[in-house]
């Protein structure tokens, strides 16, 4: 088990910055996700850790030792690629043995460790197959096995589920998380899918434009995002421009149309413009004339266990998600009930 520290990593390609000072520390056996849209620098960060990219500035520490100038093959990492990058000319067993052969492990030990790992990723019957003859999910497990069999200091995963269909993706999510816990390896996982990041990680790092926007537990990121962009990226979010009073006293007083007022916690850092975030499932529907806000249903989408409503209000169109038994017709006037404990002030984006 290894601790990984990134100290103000900077990477630029001929002047154009791809990473602008990434600092992060990942504890023993933690599962950390780098989450962000394409081009945010999450893959570049991973490639820097792996040694495929040379950092322009900053340092990468494994257990306090600076490895940022080491060649990739000297870093003791296991990596799973988006395309899996299985060696097509080698069998599953040979793919797994490759890393051990590079480490000059004795033959007998190689056979034993490969067998053990095949068992771990549930591929023992497929040892002599070539990758081409395996399904996507099986190939994925070979890639995992190949990365783990060498017992690396850390495990790096680059969008490993992107090429799988939805059902298999859900299955593999659980599989990878269980495996990681069992092996107890420090893991860094790159994804653009907030669902994957939320469900699997101990720590989620949201990145935009080459910088970390927020790092925290999945709950922190979801419930108390620091900015509007983070709030919107990790789930659906209504951002309300509510008149706020007394900022700076630890709490904020919000005045609602119709005179009602709510008190919510104030943000740690003062922002130029504040918006109030309310997640769709944190707004309840009630009868017309009741609740904090009034509105009219403009769209209803049945989602199985839930219903997605779009409600036109004085604050624009709000998304509301209710249990499937809460029924309102399109066109119907309704009241909206906000939960002050779940409202959260976020810094609005400059452009918004």
């Amino acid at each position: 088990m290894t601790e990984v520290s990134l100290l103000s990593l900077v990477k630029s390609y001929g002047g154009a910055p791809a990473l602008r000072g990434i600092s992060l520390s990942v504890g023993h056996g933690q599962f950390v996700s780098l989450l962000g849209p394409s081009g945010c620098g999450k893959s570049t960060t991973l490639r820097c850790i792996a040694g495929f990219e040379e950092v322009t500035d900053g340092r990468i520490l494994f257990d306090g030792k600076d490895i940022s100038r080491k060649l990739p093959e000297k870093r003791d990492i296991g990596m799973v690629f988006q395309s899996y990058a299985l060696f097509p000319h080698l069998t599953v067993a040979q793919n797994l043995a490759f890393g051990l052969e590079m480490r000059k492990v004795p033959k007998a030990q190689i056979a034993e460790r490969v067998a053990r790992t095949l068992d771990l990723v549930q591929l023992t019957p497929y040892a002599e197959r070539y990758p081409k003859a395996l399904s996507g999910g099986q190939q994925q497990r070979v890639a995992l096995g190949r990365a783990l069999v060498i017992e690396p200091a850390i495990l790096l995963l680059d969008e490993p589920l992107a090429n799988l269909d939805a059902k298999l993706r859900d299955e593999m999510r659980g599989f990878i998380r269980d495996l990681q816990k069992r092996v107890g390896i420090t893991t860094i996982y790159v994804t653009h899918d907030q669902n994957e990041a939320m469900t699997m990680s101990d720590l989620v790092v949201v990145m935009f434009d080459g910088a970390i926007a927020q790092a925290g537990t999945p709950e922190e990121i979801y419930n108390t995002p620091s900015t509007e962009a983070v709030a919107r990226f990790v789930g659906n979010a209504n951002i309300l421009d509510l008149p706020a009073a007394n900022p700076g006293a630890g709490t904020i007083d919000l005045t609602l149309p119709g005179g009602a007022s709510l008190t919510i916690p104030a943000p740690e850092k003062p922002a130029a413009r504040l918006g109030i975030m309310a997640r769709p499932e944190q707004i309840a529907l009630t009868g017309a004339g009741q609740g904090h806000l009034g509105g009219r249903v403009t769209r209803r989408l049945f989602g199985g266990g839930y219903i997605d409503y779009e409600i036109a209000t004085d604050f624009g169109v709000l998304a509301v998600q209710t249990p499937a038994n809460v029924l309102a017709d399109e066109g119907q006037a309704v009241g909206l009930l906000l939960d002050p404990a779940r409202l959260w002030p976020v810094a609005r984006d400059a452009a918004a």
Binding site: R75, G78, F98
Partner: protein, 259 residues
């Protein structure tokens, strides 16, 4: 519309025949029993193959050409594969320049390249000694074919495989040897076959740079055909065509279907 399509189909068949005719006619002529190149052949016979096998000049020329082609191909394979690796994996902005440079010998007129080389080697005082000029010319002629084929096969391969090997502890060299090389083997084989055939058949470079003494097969054949019209030349050509086809088929069987 039906008639137009039928005419088009007929036209296509004629073009395919046009492509094969001069080659087919040489092969047929080689089995001619008569003393001269007549058509249709005056009976079938292998006598001209026997004559050819007893003719040291042609046997020497074939051996000479084969050795020259093998050496030129070997050198081209090494240099061309390295260049292709650089072009596909490492060249940044200068990629297009690299490509044009490597294809120059193919784009420039062969006969002019040969003459330019002749002048050049005379001016640096080497001349046509030791067949250095001839060999250089053959490497130049074959290089673009290796480069093109290896480039194509590298581009079809995921770089992630090489990176995966590195992450598993393989040095750059080991990753190339254990992963990249087996994956691009078909491209290398095709490039090598092309290079061999080009070198075996090329005329302009050999014609200008051959120097004195023994000469490659195309030159020997050319000299022979200027004064003789017996079907022996056809027999030599047929053997040469069979050599070429065999090279293609062997390479295809060995590497064509894999990966």
């Amino acid at each position: 519309m039906r008639l137009a399509e039928a005419l088009l189909a007929l036209f296509r068949v004629l073009v395919y025949i046009f492509l094969l005719a001069p080659i087919a006619v040489v092969v047929l002529a080689s089995f001619n029993a008569g003393n001269f190149l007549t058509f249709p052949p005056q009976g079938l016979s292998l006598r001209w193959f026997v004559t050819f096998l007893q003719n040291d000049v042609f046997i020497d020329a074939i051996v000479y050409s084969a050795v020259l082609a093998a050496l030129a191909t070997a050198v081209s394979l090494v240099i061309g594969t390295m260049a292709a690796l650089y072009y596909v994996r490492h060249a940044g902005k200068e990629a297009e320049t690299v490509r044009v440079l490597l294809l120059l010998p193919l784009i420039l007129p062969e006969i002019l390249t040969a003459i330019a080389l002749l002048f050049f080697f005379y001016q640096i005082g080497v001349g046509l000694e030791h067949r250095i000029a001839l060999f250089t010319g053959h490497v130049l002629m074959t290089l673009p074919f290796v480069f093109l084929n290896v480039t194509t096969s590298l581009q079809g391969r995921d770089e992630a495989c090489e990176l995966a090997a590195r992450s598993l502890g393989a040095s750059r060299m080991t990753a190339f040897r254990r992963v990249t090389l087996p994956l691009i083997a078909p491209g290398l084989a095709t490039g090598g076959v092309f290079a061999f055939i080009i070198s075996f058949d090329t005329f302009g470079i050999s014609f200008i740079l051959k120097g004195t003494g023994s000469a490659p097969l195309p030159i020997q054949l050319y000299d022979y055909l200027r004064f003789n019209f017996t079907p022996e030349a056809a027999a030599v050509s047929t053997v040469s065509i069979i050599f070429t086809l065999a090279a293609v088929v062997v390479a295809d069987r060995l590497f064509g279907r894999k990966g």
